[in-house]
Amino acid sequence: MLTVEDLNAGYDDSVVVHDVSLHVDDGEAVAVIGSNGAGKTTLLRTICGLLPARSGTVVYGDHALLGKPAHSVARLGVAFVPAERHLFPRMSVQENLELGAYPARPDQQQLERVFELFPRLKDRRRQQAGTMSGGEQQMLAVGRALMARPSLLVLDEPTTGLAPILAEEAYASLKVLRSEGTTVLVAEQQVPLALDLADRAYVIEDGRMQMDGQATDLVDHPDVRRAYLGIA
């Protein structure tokens, strides 16, 4: 479904991501794990068209994504939930969700599905998005991304700014989505949560892929345990 090959990307004066390759198959949940500043955000933002790439290819279905602006990538069915969420703070929860379906008319069935997944959003549908708590805003960001019925859901650090219990809740809802067959690519530094969700994972450090494998294998890998799980 998504294939990234030899991707180099970064900002004006520095390359952050070096020769990264990864793939996500249909129906799979894939995690990119690594510490803060490892290049996870740059990698996802480049895939989703928010940053230009230096070189490499990103193919999604039949489409080459590199060079496409973010709104075109979104319309192809890749929904990105950035760590900063980028909600519309002075618009209602309902309006935020409706815009997720743009340019289509908001789909009532899908709206109900989002409300089923996040009942809190239904209670607060008239509230301004910016006045909600961090956990609720995270739900809204995921809900908005789901409104267009994306075929690939890309999340950058969905636990950003959340207390541990809320972070676990966030991953619990991702697991529900996962079980319904949504394809997920998630970048995360809270490694245990990510490995619990994912089928496969890639470890990225200093902008380079260090290793990859089945999530269940990585959990037991001594390097991963030492670096990310705090277990010697």
């Binding site: 709104h71 519309f88 703070p89 815009l99 997720g100 743009y102």
Partner: protein, 284 residues
Amino acid sequence: MAVVLDGVAYGLQLALLAVGLTMIYGLGGVLNLAHGQFAVVTAIAAALLMDSGLPTLPAVIVGVLTGAVLALILDASIMRPVYRLQGENRVLLSLLITLGVAFVIDGLLIYNYPFTALNLNVAGPAINLLGVPMRRGSLAASLLALVALGVLIVFLRYTRRGKAVRSIIEDEEGAQLCGINPSRIRTAVFALSGGLAGVAAVAEGMTSSLSATDGLNLTILALIVTVVGGLGSVAGALLAGLLLGIVYSLATFYIGAYVTFIILLVTAMATILVRPSGLMGRGA
């Protein structure tokens, strides 16, 4: 009471003049110093058409469309380099380019049509409103402004396109992630703002007259309203327009027309000192 009503009438026109400016700023981080010139182009086009024998209504409609088309052409041509920049640089370049555009438009119009003015005489006896006799021209202008602002608000609040416009003002990256193309919407809103400036010119033509030399004045008025209301806030522009309209009217009545402009500027400064981001600006 009469003074306040006059102020409300004038305030509606000010708001109409300013909403386009504030929307463009909110959407693109572009401060358009040629905004008043859109109004003047509309006025001159309508006046010339009327001089050539076209009835008022079609002349005015073509005039407003001229303002909108001019804005569209500007956005698609000379504004392109502006959109390639970000943040502060974008605002600065937009100021320089639109100031240049304003000079060119002013020069052309003042040179070619020094004596043309849009003057839509709305004749007839005064009409009583809440026991206050109001000039027909003033009422007609208020009504036009109310309708235009009402349509704009309904568009922004209830239509999908309108919500998309607001979403870009709120968070451009969030909008892109929803599949909204900011540059396309920005172009449409630029044209809309040209058209709204044109409608403001028509309203102005109903109460007094508008000629080729008025562009800069209108731009400054629109800027004051926009800054007081909060850059990028449509609701703020409405509120600030009404507030400043009433201040203007009271000042003219009690002090005299010669200092009203100064009083408007002082009001603007006072507002900004108390609330640096304007009445409805974010972060206030």
